[in-house]
Symmetry: C2
Subunit: 370 residues, 2 copies
C-alpha cells in the first residue's frame, strides 16, 4: 500500500470541544452550567466520578448534586470494557423515566472515556461494541461535561473513548464527532493531590504523543502547532524543580488540552505501538507503559530519549525496569504481534517498509531492554 | 477602581469554533458541508464574498452555488456599519419565504464579520445596533461557515464582529457565543493572491495582539499558550525570505486561527488603543494602523519594536510615515481622547494609574512620531 494513501485519508473536518472554562476554582462553575440545562425539577444529571474521590472528596468541594441525580464512582484499576459500559448504561436508563440532561465525567482518562461512551449509548441505543470504530454514532449523545483531575491523556479534547471488548479482545474507541465533550471545566486545583509518579507518567503521555507526531512523515501545520506548544509547556513543567507547583500544574493542564487537540490531525510513531504491546500482553497501564517504552527508544528517538532521561532524573521518578526480563518465547511473540499490527503509526515513523526495519528479532531486542 | 476587578471579570467560559478543515484545496469541502445541510431543493444559502473575488474568482474555484442561492459581494473599502448590516439582512429576508440554511463568509476580517452579524440578525430580528455589546444575541444564528482569504485578524475564531453605528459613532462588536462560526474552511491556497503589503499588515495583527497580551499584567495559561505559539509561527513567517511561500502561508493561517483563539482570554496593551485612535480620527484601516503605531512603540515594547523593525526591513514593506505630521491641535485632542478611552488594555499594559503615565503631552509626542 502506498504510504500517502495509508496516512492521508482526505482533508479531515476537526471537531472542537464546544466550550471550556479554565482556572483555579473553576469547578464552582459547574453549578451554573448545570442549572442552565435543568429546566424543570424533574430533570436529573449523572455524575461519573473516579473512585479515588469516593474516599477523598475534598478537592471537588461541594458538587451541585440534586436529590434526583445519580452519582456513580468509576473503577480505574482496570481499563473500561464494553460490557461494563453496557451495564452502566442499563443501570442509568432504568433508574428514571426520562433521560438525564447531562453526563458529567470527573476523573482521569478512564473516567472521561466512560462518560463519553455512556452519553453516546444513552441516546443511540444498542451495545457499546456496535459503536467501536469510526463514525458509527448516529445521534448526539447526552450533553457531556468533562472535568479532568489529572493532566496528560488529552481525553478531554479528543473525539474518541477507548474501550475493550472483553469477549473478542478488541480495544477500539468510539471515534465520532458526537464523542467530543460539549463543555470542559479545566481546574488546575484538582490535580494537586495526584501522586507524583502518576502525575509524571500521565504528563509524559502528552509529551510523547507530540514528540512522535513531530518526528513523523505525515504532518500538517495545525497539528504541528498544537504539538509544538504542548512540547514547550511539558518541557517547562518537567525541567522545573517543581513539576507540581501551582504554575506547573496550570501549564500541564493546558498542555494536555492542546495535546488532545493535536491528536485529531496527527499520527503517533514507534512508542505507542510498543507501549500498546505492553498493555495488551502484560496488562500495564497506558501511561506507565509509554514511559517504560521511552526508556528503550534511544535508537529511534535519540534526542528525545536524552531529554526524557533528563526529565526522569530531574523529577526523580522511578520507571519500572525488567518488566520483560522473565518472559517466554510465546510472550515475546505476542508482544511482537501486538506491536507490529499498528500499521499507521509505524508507517508514519519508519515508512511503508517498516516490517523490514522492525523484524521479530529487533522487536524482541527492544522489549528485552525494558 | 482596583486593577483586578477591572481585568478579571470571573472565569470565562470560552466557546470554540465547532469544526474546522485545514489544508490546501480544502475549499472543495464546502460542497459536501453545504449538501449535508440542504435537506430539500427549497433550501438555499447566502454567500457573502469579498468584492475582490467579483473580478478575480479563480482562487475560489467553482463554488457550490445552487440556482436558489444568493451571492452578494461585500465592499471592503469601508468598515461595516450597522446600517449596512440592516439593509443587507432586509434584502436577504425578503428574497425567499424561508430563512437560508447557511451563511457563508468568504474574505478577510470585514467579510467574516459581516457574515457573523448577518447570520445573527436573520434569526434574532431587530436592528444590528441592538446587539452591539455583550451577550445580547439570544438565539443561535443561521449556520455560519467562515472561509478566510487573508490571515491575521483572527476573525475566524472570535466571538465578536465589529460594526460601527454611523449615526452614533459607536464602534462595537456583537460579543456573543452565537457569533462564533459553526464551521471554518482554512485553505492556504486562498491567500496566494493577497498583495504583499496587505499580507504583511494583516499578519502583523496576529503578532501584535499576542505581543501585547504576553506583556500585560492580566494573564492566563490558556491565552499565554495560544499567544506564544502564534508568535512563534509569525516569527518564522516574517523572518523567512519567503513570507508568502506555500509553507509560510500555511503557518500564517494557523497563526491567525490560534491568535483568534487567544483573544477570548487575553487583553491587548498600548498598541491597539493608539491604533484605534488612528482609525477613528484619521480613518486608517486597523491592520496598517497597528503597524504605524508599532513603529512608535520603542518606549513601551523595546524588544518587540526591534523585532518588528527587523520584519519590516526583511520583507521590505513600506509602512506609511508622517500620517500625523499636518494635524491640528483639535485633531491631536481627538486622538488623545480616542486612545485614552481604552481603559482595559491600558490598565493591562501600564497599571490602573495609566492616565498619569500617558498624559496628553506624552500621547501627542507618540502620535507625532507617526
Amino acid at each position: 500500500m502506498n504510504k500517502d494513501s495509508l496516512l492521508i485519508t482526505g482533508i479531515g473536518n476537526s471537531r472542537n470541544v464546544s466550550r471550556y472554562c479554565f482556572g483555579k476554582g473553576s469547578i464552582t462553575q459547574l453549578s451554573e452550567i448545570l442549572n442552565s440545562r435543568r429546566s424543570s425539577s424533574e430533570n436529573w444529571a449523572v455524575f461519573l466520578i473516579d473512585e479515588y474521590f469516593d474516599r477523598h472528596s475534598e478537592p471537588l468541594g461541594v458538587l451541585p448534586v440534586e436529590s434526583t441525580d445519580r452519582v456513580i464512582h468509576i473503577r480505574t484499576d482496570v481499563e473500561p470494557s464494553t460490557q461494563f459500559i453496557d451495564s452502566l448504561v442499563c443501570d442509568i436508563s432504568v433508574s428514571h423515566k426520562m433521560l438525564p440532561v447531562a453526563v458529567i465525567g470527573i476523573g482521569g482518562g478512564i473516567t472521561l472515556d466512560v462518560a463519553k461512551a455512556t452519553s453516546n449509548l444513552l441516546t443511540n441505543g444498542g451495545r457499546a461494541e456496535e459503536y467501536q470504530g469510526w463514525d458509527l454514532v448516529k445521534r448526539p449523545g447526552i450533553y457531556k461535561i468533562g472535568i479532568p483531575t489529572i493532566s496528560g491523556t488529552g481525553a478531554e479534547a479528543t473525539r474518541t473513548c477507548v474501550i475493550t471488548n472483553e469477549k473478542t479482545g478488541v480495544k477500539l474507541g468510539m471515534n465520532s464527532d458526537h464523542t467530543v465533550f460539549d463543555q470542559l471545566i479545566l481546574d488546575p486545583d484538582l490535580t494537586a493531590s495526584v501522586p507524583r509518579n502518576q502525575y509524571f507518567f500521565t504528563g509524559m503521555d502528552a509529551w510523547i504523543h507530540c514528540v512522535e507526531a513531530l518526528s513523523g512523515s505525515y504532518r500538517n501545520p495545525v497539528g504541528d502547532a498544537f504539538s509544538a506548544q504542548t512540547i514547550t509547556l511539558c518541557r517547562k513543567v518537567f525541567s522545573d524543580n517543581e513539576m507540581m507547583s501551582e504554575e506547573s500544574r496550570e501549564k500541564l493542564m493546558v498542555a494536555s488540552y492542546l495535546g488532545g487537540c493535536a491528536i485529531a490531525t496527527t499520527y503517533v510513531g514507534v512508542v505507542h505501538p510498543f507501549s500498546a504491546g505492553l498493555s495488551v500482553v502484560l496488562g500495564l497501564h497506558h501511561c506507565v507503559a509509554n514511559c517504560i517504552t521511552m526508556m528503550a527508544m534511544e535508537l529511534y528517538y535519540p534526542d528525545e530519549h536524552r531529554e526524557f532521561m533528563g526529565f526522569v532524573e530531574n523529577q526523580d521518578v522511578p520507571i519500572p525496569e525488567g518488566v520483560c526480563s522473565q518472559l517466554s518465547d510465546s510472550q515475546f511473540e505476542a508482544l511482537y504481534q501486538a506491536t507490529i499490527i499498528h500499521e499507521k503509526p509505524l508507517t508514519n515513523a519508519l515508512g511503508e517498509q517498516y516490517r523490514d526495519v522492525l523484524d521479530r528479532s529487533r522487536v524482541r531486542q527492544i522489549f528485552e531492554k525494558m
